[in-house]
Point group: C2
Chain length 301, copies 2
C-alpha cells in the first residue's frame, strides 16, 4: 500500500484528461485549487460554454483526517475512529450536441490506518455512458474500451463490473437504467495492492480512448430544437439519479464536501415535464426501447 | 379521530385551490386520477405552459395498508405492523414571471390503528414562499396570512411554526434558506383531534389568500432574459432541496410512490453553473443579502 504513488497517478491522470479534452474542445478549462479545512483539498477543472462541451468538470480531491466519522463507516464499524485518507478523480461531461452522450468516470482510493494494525484500503471506480440518442456502434465502442481496460487483470472482471454498473446506475423510482452502462466497482482489495492499483489505473487510462472518438463522431451532427428539448428532458434523469441515488454525491453534500465541486456533475440546462413519453417509433422512443435495457453490448464469453 | 371527515376536507380543498388557480391563470389544469396497487390512490392536477403558471401541481393522495413498514416508522418502532391510513394535499407552483415567487403548501394527516388499542394519529403541514427577486411587502403579506391562519388556534403557534419552517427548508450544503419561509409543522396531535384538525384546515384554507394577491401583483411585471436566467439558476436550489433534503420527496421516491406526482414539484426549466454569484449590489445579490436570511417578517410579540 503506497498512498503517495496513487496520489501521483491521480494528479497526472487529471492533467492528461483535461489536456486531452482541451484539445478536443479548443477552449481551456478553468482550474480551481481549494483546501478542505479538516485536512486535504483538491483541484476542480471546469469548462462551461465550450465549443463542444456545454458543461463539464474533472475533479481531483485528496482528503484526510484523524478520526473517521461513524457515518462514513456504517458498513464497517470496526474502522470508526481510524485515521483515513481518500483520493480520487471524478468527471462528468455534458456535450452541447444532443447526439453526443454524457459521460461519467471515477477512480478512487481509500485507506484507514491505525498504529500497530494493518492498514485497511480499497479501490473503486468505473465509467458509464448516457446517450440522448443512441448509436449501437458507440455503445459497443465504449464497452469494448471498458473491456480492454480490464482484460489485462483477468477475464472475469469485465462481465462482473459491467453487471455491477447496470445495477448501480439504475433509477429505481423510474424503473429505468441511467444510460447504456459501462463498468463499476468498489471495495476492491483482492488479491493484492499492485493488482488492484493496476486495474484501477487501467480504467483511468482508458477513459479518453473510450469517450473521445464518440464525441468527435457526434459533435458536429446537425440538430434542432426538438433534439435539444429531448436532451434537456433526459438530463432531468441525470439530476434525479445524482441527487437521489448516488452515494458519492449524497455523502459529499451531507458531510460538508465542497458543493460546487460535487455539483459540477449536474447538467447546464434541464427540463421537467409531467408524465411525458415520446411517440412510439420516434427516435426518442428508440432510446428507451433499444438502449435503456441493460443489454450486453459485447458478445459474451 | 374521524378519517372520513379529514379526507372529505382534503378533496374539497384541492378542488377549491385548483378552481381558484384556474381563475387566475385562465388555463385549465389536467386532472389525473390514479390507483395505488397496495391500497388507495389520488388525483394529480397539473398545469404546464399556462398563462401565468409555467408549471404547477396540486396533488391529493389517500393511501392505506395493513402493515406499516418498519422503514416508515423508524422514529416510532411501536407502530410497525399496524394498519395505517394517510391523506394529504400537496402543491408547488412555478410561475413564469421571475418576479413572481414559487410557492409550496402541504396539509397531511396520518393514522395508525390496531384492534384493541387507541389509534395513533397526527397532522402536519405548512406553506412557504421562494422568491427569485424579493419584495418585502410580499414576504410580509405571506407571513401575515400564515399568522392569520394559526392565530385562532393560539398565539404560540405562528412563532413556533415559523421557526420550524426556517429550520426545515434549509439547504445545509449551501448554508442557505430555500426562501423567505412561512410555517411548517409535523406530529401535531395535542391537545385533541378537533383542535389539530381546525388548525390544519385553517392553514389549507388560507393558502389562496396568502399567495394569489402576490401572484396577481407580479404576474405582469416586465422582465427580460437576465431575470429568466437568474430564475432558472435559482430554481436549481429548489431541485437540490427537494431531491436531497425533503423527507416527503425522498420517502415517496424510495418507497414506490407515483413518481410523476411526486416530481410535479420540480421546475420546468433549470440551469446549473459553476461557482456563480451575483454582482455585489445587484438586484440578484439583494435576494441573498435581504431575503434569504431567516429574518422575522412580522413584528414579534
Amino acid at each position: 500500500m503506497n498512498f503517495a504513488q496513487v496520489k501521483d497517478y491521480l494528479v497526472d491522470l487529471q492533467n492528461r484528461i483535461v489536456t486531452g479534452l482541451e484539445q478536443v474542445d479548443g477552449q481551456s478549462f478553468r482550474r480551481d485549487t481549494w483546501d478542505r479545512p479538516e485536512g486535504g483539498g483538491g483541484t476542480s477543472c471546469v469548462i462551461e460554454e465550450g465549443n463542444v462541451l456545454e458543461r463539464g468538470g474533472v475533479n481531483f480531491s485528496h482528503v484526510f483526517g484523524k478520526g473517521l466519522p461513524a457515518s462514513a463507516t456504517a458498513a464497517r464499524p470496526e474502522l470508526a475512529g481510524r485515521a483515513f485518507e481518500a483520493a480520487g478523480v471524478s468527471l462528468v461531461l455534458h456535450p452541447r450536441n444532443p447526439y453526443a452522450p454524457t459521460v461519467h468516470m471515477n477512480v478512487r482510493f481509500f485507506a484507514a490506518t491505525k498504529e500497530g494494525a494493518e492498514p485497511v484500503w480499497w479501490f473503486g471506480g468505473g465509467m458509464d455512458l448516457t446517450p440522448y440518442y443512441g448509436f449501437e456502434e458507440d455503445a459497443v465502442h465504449f464497452h469494448q474500451a471498458c473491456k480492454d481496460a480490464l482484460q489485462p487483470s483477468g477475464e472475469e472482471y469485465y462481465p462482473r463490473f459491467k453487471k455491477w454498473c447496470d445495477e448501480y446506475f439504475y433509477l429505481k423510482h423510474r424503473k429505468e437504467p441511467r444510460g447504456i452502462g459501462g463498468v463499476f466497482f468498489d471495495d476492491l482489495n483482492q488479491p493484492d495492492f499492485a493488482t488492484c492499483f493496476n486495474l484501477t489505473r487501467s480504467v483511468g487510462d482508458h477513459f479518453l480512448a473510450a469517450y473521445v472518438p464518440i464525441l468527435q463522431k457526434r459533435r458536429d451532427l446537425p440538430y434542432g430544437e426538438r433534439e435539444r428539448d429531448f436532451q434537456a428532458y433526459r438530463r432531468g434523469r441525470y439530476v434525479e439519479f445524482n441527487l437521489v441515488w448516488d452515494r458519492g454525491t449524497l455523502f459529499g453534500l451531507q458531510s460538508g464536501g465542497r458543493t460546487e465541486s460535487i455539483l459540477m456533475s449536474l447538467p447546464p440546462v434541464v427540463k421537467w415535464r409531467y408524465d411525458w413519453s415520446p411517440a412510439a417509433g420516434s427516435p426518442e422512443a428508440k432510446l428507451y426501447t433499444d438502449f435503456l435495457t441493460g443489454r450486453d453490448w459485447l458478445p459474451l464469453g
